[in-house]
């Protein structure tokens, strides 16, 4: 009798547990679905009085967490602030900018889940990504390159096409997908962020770190033993991203970007962040008014 009762309790408990798990999964998928077809980003931003930007926190020059102020700082951060002010002017609302650090791997999901309103995080415009997010016009032209130790003898990505070499990349970047095409024989190891990828390069876990040249310049300024080689072998135009089908927000952002480029704000920010980067002529980055 006792045994039967115990067994019955066990069966009921498992059923209840299974039902709970199913319900939880159902609830989660409904929430995600709701977020997929969610409201207008521009309307939400105006209601909140704030644009929450997803930014990089591990990328020197673009978005790097300042350990003293606990705020990210960089070209993209300043540009996002200027964009926010400009959009506020255009829409006649009061808007402030808030920043959430994102990783390359999680940023699109965060945007989809509306944890953030927009992305300005060294994100290359690609056709695959454009299917699921809305990109603004290009705000920075980068290209993939290689960072190697100065005495390594490696000159270009072609030299890396050998099974004895390992190329380090970061999860979720275009480099993680593209490197294979240019060095199919090399081993490719993806790490979580640029900080750990740089550490791994220094520890000899790989012979080269590959990603956009703009990011590599930032790493090279901090690590003088390393330099960029071989120029760029892909084109990587950066765009800001909003959720899919957010025409009003994207339109406002494009208008704001155009204004900032025309009134000289953009060039001032370029000078501020890129004027003393070794191996880079910041005048090349300026836009012509």
């Amino acid at each position: 009798m006792e045994k039967i009762r115990k067994r019955r309790f066990g069966i009921i408990a498992s059923l209840v547990l299974a039902a709970l798990i199913l319900l939880g999964a159902f609830w989660a998928s409904v929430t995600i679905d709701k977020n997929k077809t969610h409201q207008d980003t521009l309307a939400r931003v105006e209601r909140k009085g704030q644009i929450t930007w997803g930014v990089k926190a591990d990328t020197k020059l673009f978005g790097l967490m300042d350990t003293k102020t606990a705020q990210p700082a960089g070209f993209e951060i300043d540009l996002a602030k200027a964009m926010t002010a400009q959009i506020a002017k255009q829409t006649n609302t009061k808007l402030s900018a808030a920043f959430v650090p994102v990783s390359s791997a999680s940023r699109i999901q965060l945007l989809k889940n509306t944890n953030i309103d927009g992305l300005i995080s060294t994100m290359t415009i690609t056709p695959e990504r454009a299917k699921i997010v809305d990109f603004t016009n290009v705000y920075f032209n980068a290209g993939q390159s290689l960072l190697v130790k100065k005495d390594s003898g490696i000159q270009s990505v072609k030299d890396m096409n050998d099974p004895k070499y390992t190329v380090l990349v970061v999860v979720g970047t275009t480099a993680a997908q593209e490197t294979k095409k240019y060095a199919p024989k090399a081993k490719i190891i993806a790490l979580q962020d640029y900080a750990s990828a740089m550490q791994a390069l220094k520890s000899g876990q790989g012979q080269a770190l590959s990603t956009d040249n703009a990011i590599l310049y930032g790493l090279a300024t901090e690590n003088p033993d390393y330099h960029l080689v071989g120029g760029v072998f892909t084109k990587a135009p950066y765009g800001m991203a909003f959720d899919h089908n957010q025409k009003p927000m994207t339109k406002q952002a494009n208008r704001a970007l155009k204004t900032l480029q025309e009134n000289g704000t953009y060039n001032r920010l370029v000078e501020k962040w890129f004027h003393n980067v070794p191996g880079l002529d910041w005048h090349d980055l300026e836009v012509n008014k």
Partner: protein, 213 residues
């Protein structure tokens, strides 16, 4: 499901690495853990001190730090891949917990058994091996089972050092398919494929040994 089809080989590759790392770490940590448990209860003072320090150090430092230390610092001297660094880190970390479980098992055996064995002419090591440890493991099995299940799940640490395991491949798939939700559900199921049989086996072992005794 189309995601599973499209990336099946990637998931399987990750599954293989996770399984391999788990098996190596399981055996390694069982051997190391038992060794340090014996040291902790031995009559030699240095042995006790060394055993204690080992357990306290590896039990109280986060696994991520141990692994990154191996991958980024130790690898400068001794070449090792992310897979090796992750597996070794996992072994060291888990062995500290296993040492504690085994030690508890040993302590649950009355002192008289050891004394009796020694009085009959067995050395400390012999008495440990033939008399004490077989009984101690019987007592320790439920908590050892816990450690092993934790070990399999903790093997996801390999993802942080490019260890090619399930979690690592999952991150790559999530990043290139943009479907984070489905990817992580699939990975979760793959982990269950390892941990569920493991936990049933431990349960089975427990009842079997109870019947014997």
């Amino acid at each position: 499901m189309s995601l599973l089809n499209q990336y099946f080989s990637v998931f399987v590759q990750g599954f293989g690495h996770t399984l391999l790392a788990s098996i190596i770490a399981l055996i390694g940590s069982l051997v190391l853990g038992t060794l340090f448990a014996i040291m902790q209860v031995s009559s030699s003072k240095t042995g006790r001190i060394i055993g204690n320090i080992y357990v306290q150090v590896f039990r109280n430092i986060p696994l991520l730090i141990i692994t990154l230390f191996l991958y980024l610092a130790v690898a400068k001297v001794i070449k090792m891949t992310g897979f090796v660094a992750g597996t070794v880190g996992l072994t060291l970390y888990t062995s500290a917990f296993i040492a504690e479980s085994v030690r508890a098992g040993i302590l649950s055996i009355e002192a008289g058994q050891m004394e009796g064995a020694r009085a009959n002419g067995l050395t400390f090591n012999q008495a440990m091996r033939v008399i004490i440890l077989p009984q101690a493991f019987k007592v320790a099995i439920p908590s050892l089972g816990n450690q092993f299940i934790n070990l399999v799940k903790n093997s996801s640490i390999l993802a942080f050092v490019g260890g090619l395991d399930l979690m690592y491949q999952g991150n790559l798939v999530a990043a290139s398919s943009f479907d984070t939700f489905t990817t992580y559900i699939i990975i979760g199921v793959f982990y269950l494929v390892i941990t569920m049989p493991l936990s049933y086996y431990v349960q089975h072992l427990e009842t079997k040994l109870k019947k014997k005794a």
